[in-house]
Amino acid sequence: MSDPSDDQRDELASAYLDGDATPAERAQVEADPALVRRVAELGVVRAALGAPGPSAGAETRDRAITAALATASPPAATVTPIDRHRSSRRALVVLGAAAAAVAVIAAVAVVATRSSNTGTSTSAGVSTTARAAGSTASFGPETQSAGAATSAAPTGGVSSTTVAASAAGRDASAAAATSAPPYLGVADDDSELRALLGATSASAVSPLPAPASAANSCTVPGATLVGTVTWQGTLAHVFVANGVATVIQVSDCRPIATVPLT
């Protein structure tokens, strides 16, 4: 155990080093050769810590930034006078409804075609919302500005999953109200995921099905999107249904884990 007076002298020397000593303290240090030596010793420690340490490589940095951008919420809508935008808003609603109808028809056609050819291919019960260009454009500025989450996902890769009919729920109001799911933290195994979900308050859990305003958001039929996690280094959505959490990779809506919650 060090002498308490040593602690006081170290505090004096350390504060002197940082320029945080009072004039009286500075005079006290400068008049005491032992304290001056101590300032030098602590200065070596400070210099070592302040030296450039190992930095992350570009790949690590870019991955972290991409993951962070993918969790960005759409910005709050700009408040504008209603009369100035009423007509364009009405047009958006009409376009949105038309696009939703097209998406539903397309989804039904795809499902029917697949069912007749190879049977239903809902691997792991996961589906991806329609990504037709028309439906993307039809949701106007809100959807465009949700872009951080949108940009992280590839535009291809839909073919292996069944197109969901959930586009029917994508009316203009849903598109405007959608926000990114809460980020819950990092989980590398089942127990850590359970801990994260256990720590999620009931109010944080969306009472609604997975938001689907983003053109490439993932959905799991019948399951609730409870949040986003970093699962084994990969940004993923977590859906919960019937006591089971399904972890879906954000970038391509691929299921990467299922975790029983009980």
């Binding site: 350390s14 070592a48 790949e59 709050a76």
Partner: protein, 210 residues
């Protein structure tokens, strides 16, 4: 990322992070809060090196630092709409980062396998080796930092790595400036003892200050 695919390129180079430009930060923050994705990207890139450096010193290894830094960036993005500018953006970033690093340390403790040696509580190095020689060895420095109590480590790293002043550290850690001063002093003294055998004694926590 991280534990599952260690970022081997991390060891490649060491460099000083770019100086903080508070005015540029403020402009980017406003733009990013308004939905400008390019501004948000630029903001994250401007601060990533410091965030990583802080996490690297606090967690003591590359993989955990990469995980914690990514988690910090995600928290920054999620919290940005609520950032009100009462502190500087950089100070807020350090607060978020410190919390992310502490979370990572907690996760690491949960993962720790009983019976295996941990990072914590490393032995002091050979007291006959000059301090200025041993401190150049980053593994020795990592071990010495790992031997510090977390509250000392955070204070010292925020001062000497992030270059925050005492008031800023007090704001980040939500403790009085006097406590910051004593934690930094005790942390540095413990590091000096650990690295060079000076007055080798286990670090003691400061007495609470009002």
């Amino acid at each position: 990322l991280g534990r599952n695919s260690p970022p081997t390129e991390t060891q490649a180079t060491a460099r000083y992070p770019e100086p903080i430009d508070a005015a540029a930060d403020a402009e980017l923050v406003v733009a990013a809060q308004g939905g400008d994705e390019a501004a948000l990207d630029a903001l994250l890139r401007a601060h990533y090196d410091r965030v990583y450096a802080l996490c690297r010193r606090i967690t003591g290894n590359d993989a955990d630092a990469a995980d914690a830094a990514q988690d910090a960036l995600i928290s920054i993005v999620r919290g940005l709409p609520r950032f009100d500018g009462r502190s500087s953006f950089a100070t807020w970033v350090y607060r978020v980062t410190s919390n992310a690093c502490l979370d990572e340390l907690r996760r690491r403790r949960r993962r720790a396998v009983p019976g295996l040696p941990d990072h914590e509580g490393s032995e002091p190095t050979d007291p006959t080796v000059p301090l200025d020689t041993t401190v150049t060895d980053r593994f020795t420095l990592d071990e010495a930092l790992a031997g510090l109590p977390e509250d000392y480590r955070l204070a010292v790293v925020l001062r000497d790595v992030a270059d925050l002043d005492y008031a800023e550290i007090a704001s980040v850690l939500d403790i009085p400036p006097g406590t910051v001063r004593s934690r930094i002093a005790r942390g540095r003294a413990a590091l000096a003892a650990s690295l060079g055998g000076n007055r080798a004694s286990p670090p003691r926590r400061p007495t609470p200050q009002p």
